[in-house]
Amino acid sequence: MEMLIKIAHNYYYMVAILLFVIGMHTMLTHSNLIKKVIAMNIMDTSVFLMFVATGYTYGGAAPIVTAPANEVLYVNPLPGSLMLTGIVVAVSITAYALSLVVKIYRYYGTVDYDEICLIRSRE
């Protein structure tokens, strides 16, 4: 029971880790290369969720200064701003991976890793 309460208190983290595991599992077990790329994105996004959740303060407002010197409880802006960078990096990796997939398809006529291995072993 105590465990459950602990989990309930930290449910953002738990979901983030669950998503991470789902993403990683999909990425490593599926042989379709595009599926791998999508799974990689899910994995990355889950980490971002985790980060943003660490910065969240219960009841905190978004860290936008609208008027100076009023006492509003802000959430921690740092994880959010860091995750911006993270998202951009993830997108660029996705784009690069996809261009590789397209080129691989041009050579092998398939985007399935098992089939590619089969083709290579036949050579």
């Binding site: 911006l84 660029s92 784009a95």
Partner: protein, 147 residues
């Protein structure tokens, strides 16, 4: 994609998306958004045109060469802005120390170097997205020839 509705809609929507992208870029220091998201929105509008029409029309908007030059230019601009700080004797990427005018908080032209850097970033991200898109799509003609 040969759909009339898609074409007309995208043609109508594109200028608005672009203006919104520029808005997001320029207000990066004031409200949510900034170089990354604004640049992505702007770049996405260009990709949208290319997707809904065809590559030639898309290429007229921004050619591959221009995109890659803009890309290098944006990044170089970032580095140069950072170096201004060193040149005037403050740290790399310094803002106030480098003598950038800070202006009034809440105004459009405030926050000194951040503004400039965001603008460069927007250019860089927008052009990068276009380049990436062309990179993926480019196989079309070549593989089309092959088949």
């Amino acid at each position: 994609m040969e759909d009339q509705i898609v074409r007309i809609t995208s043609r109508l929507v594109t200028p608005f998306i672009q203006v919104y992208g520029i808005y997001v870029i320029l207000h990066g220091h004031l409200s949510p958004g900034g170089g990354f998201s604004g640049g992505a929105i702007f770049g996405a509008s260009l990709v949208l045109v290319a997707l809904s029409f065809n590559l030639e029309v898309g290429a007229k908007q921004i050619s591959h060469t221009t995109a890659s030059v803009l890309e290098s230019g944006g990044a170089l601009g970032f580095v140069v802005t950072g170096l201004v700080g060193v040149a005037v004797g403050a740290n790399f990427l310094a803002n106030r120390g480098a003598g950038f005018p800070l202006g009034e908080a809440g105004e459009l032209f405030s926050a000194g170097a951040i503004f400039i850097i965001t603008a460069f970033l927007g250019v860089k991200v927008a052009s990068t997205i276009v380049t990436l898109f062309y990179n993926i799509i480019e196989g079309e003609e070549k593989s089309g020839d092959a088949h």
